[in-house]
Symmetry: C2
């Protein structure tokens, strides 16, 4: 007997037929004698619709009210799945964020789970009941609903698996594992059997979209064995595990891209200590994550230009914040561009190999793709390019790093 | 300065444009210096959609999960309205059933409010914040979400008005008041300036649909002055008040109808003491309200037939309950018919006038409409007829009781 957490994303619970399919997958695990907790997302499109309502209500909205509105999607799915399980003779109940409670910090809209009180849930699971937890949501210190940011249900699942000391956390999704790149762009993309937490972290953060970044961080910290697999096909997926578990390390695990990027350039900023804090302090206070940052040398020893990237969705808020902070930063002009994409190559093998970056730059140059910003980490190289070159760049890099599957 | 509760139904908050309209109505009251609490329903169609999901999930569903699913509609509207109010410079926050808390009994799906803890809300209202409460929902003794039954947001509003000791409870709806009958059926229906709690109670319970029955009961018990008015037109509506406040009492206040009726006839039941309890006990335990009951004299001194009506939506559950109770009740056969309508005439003036029932029976007979079941109260006469005669019956009775407006 094992204790497992199963997480189902939006497309897996898109309608009642699919929810019944999910219930069958759960039944298999229950019939095998396992204790099962389930975490569900909102039905496909529901969260987008709710976010759309909020944005239509006001451009600058109260994040506490946003959370109250948007958290309803997962609440609906958890109740419906519990009903379907019951109708199949499987005891089940829904658990909402405030009921457990899933205690988070107070960063409404992007809250972090601090603690999950699973005592009542474990009692009921031991008694044979399937716990169906609404993902994405928690309870803030103000006793109001918080949400964990888009894709937050993955984090809910991994954090629940850690709190329950579960043997495994299976993330069911509409893809059957982690690929070397997006198969919709590169037909010869290959499915990976295993991937390290670190590689997954870099892939998630650059937009592979399969797992939320934060969920991989929690999995790595809490050593939760995560499996990414398809809710439609019955076959093993990709295991996300410790580096030690992988014998044969490849140079590059995958090529990722993200189109949800925007670039802001602040021109003629006085080049003195403290100016970065003046810029990024207010953005951080507004919970806006900044990604790549490039600062050029001072034009004339006095002023400099500064470019950084952020999620496109945060662009209006960031512009608002920077406009208000203009007297403090003392910049001259500001330009922004949401028509950019970030392309990244990721692999733990990179640590012990030189020339990985060079291959990337050469490959892009051969296709006449201009690199706007570069950023690197120990196991990742990312570049910002014009969005229209996304597919071309991904295909060329996938081939250049020898990732293409052998034709069947 | 007054303290008022404003309640907006589904069509009044059907989309963001209408929610903005609602916010304007609220702003008028805030600008007039009033303390305002608002109660909102789900956006039109949302509750139906959620109920549809639940029914698609399983025909016999766990009412606790039903409540968790269906309560989300009001949660969404309360958050959106708070955001819109804030964007107009009016401090506001949403309040969910479990946050206040609105304590109810444990009858999931049809719970009754027992207590509303308004201390925090009053503090914030005095500080100038508009309280936007999600209607229809509460918190059960099991610490799970309860809902109050369809139309329950009216009851939420009246109960909140009582708890806040509000000066007035304005129920904004898509009609501009209480009419002598449904104007969609009778073009010469008249709007009433005032109506008594008792008449409103009878009208609500027979399907005038403007106010939920329970809300009128609470208003009568707690002496809450309720006004029914249009959220689209700027003019006074109908005040629901104590009988003492109405000088000129009319014989009949209105003619109401309900198509959401079903009839069950249980044939050849042993005619001995306790058989009614054997039938209606299990129905009551399943929270199924039975309305009109008719029992014929025993056929042969041994067995009898028993007919009763209930809400059509409860029919499948009632049939299930009665099927299970068959060994106990020992009936022979059971028939049911959901193709019936209930027509009622209501008026406190009826108490002091004879012949009201006779006029009803004669009028229906003249139109060759067969009366299946009759039930009367002090101020109401109801008959069950075949659904297809609904409009004909309502029109004929409206004219027969002299309710038609003088042609303009």
């Amino acid at each position: 007997m094992a204790r497992i957490v199963m997480k189902f994303g939006g497309t897996s619970v898109a309608n009642l037929e699919r929810i019944r399919n999910v219930a069958q997958r759960i039944k298999s695990e229950v019939d095998a004698g396992h204790q099962v907790a389930v975490v569900v997302s909102a039905m496909t499109g529901v969260t987008d619709q709710l976010v759309g309502y909020v944005r239509e209500a006001a451009e600058l909205y109260d994040a506490r009210e946003y959370d109250a509105v948007v958290a309803t999607g997962e609440q609906v799915t958890s109740g419906l799945l519990a009903i379907v399980l019951q109708s199949m003779g499987i005891p089940a109940r829904s658990w909402l964020g405030w009921q457990l409670a899933i205690k988070t910090d107070g960063a409404h809209g992007a809250a972090r789970i601090e603690n999950i009180d699973t005592a009542d849930m474990i009692t009921q699971m031991i008694a044979g009941s399937v716990a169906v937890m609404a993902g994405f949501q928690g309870l803030g210190p103000d006793s109001r609903i918080t949400t964990l940011g888009r894709g937050g249900s993955d984090t809910s699942a991994v954090a629940l698996a850690a709190a329950l000391k579960a043997d495994r956390c299976d993330i069911y999704t509409d893809v059957d594992g982690i690929y070397t790149t997006d198969p919709r762009i590169v037909s010869r993309a290959r499915k990976l059997e295993k991937i390290t937490y670190e590689e997954m972290l870099e892939l998630a953060s650059v937009g592979a979209k399969v797992l939320q970044t934060r969920s991989v961080e929690v999995a790595m910290k809490e050593k939760v064995r995560v499996q990414v697999l398809s809710s439609f096909k019955h076959k093993p997926g990709t295991m996300v595990v410790d580096e030690d578990e992988i014998m044969e390390k490849e140079l590059i695990a995958g090529v990722a891209y993200s189109r949800n990027e925007a670039k802001i350039t602040i021109m003629n900023v006085p080049d003195h200590p403290g100016v970065s804090a003046a810029i990024f302090g207010p953005l951080s206070e507004a919970n806006i994550n900044v990604d790549m940052i490039v600062q050029n040398v001072a034009h004339d020893g006095k002023t400099t230009d500064l470019t950084f990237t952020l999620t496109a969705a945060d662009l209006p808020r960031a512009l608002d914040v920077l406009e208000k902070a203009k007297p403090l930063i003392e910049y001259e002009t500001l330009t922004h561009d949401a028509n950019v994409a970030k392309i990244s190559v990721v692999g733990v093998g990179m640590r012990s190999h030189a020339g990985v970056a060079l291959t990337m730059f050469k490959t892009l140059a051969e296709k006449s793709i201009n690199i706007q910003v570069i950023s690197t980490s120990e196991i990742k190289i990312s570049v910002l390019i014009a969005a229209e070159y996304t597919e071309l760049a991904v295909r060329a890099l996938h081939t250049a790093y020898g990732l293409d599957a052998v034709a069947a």
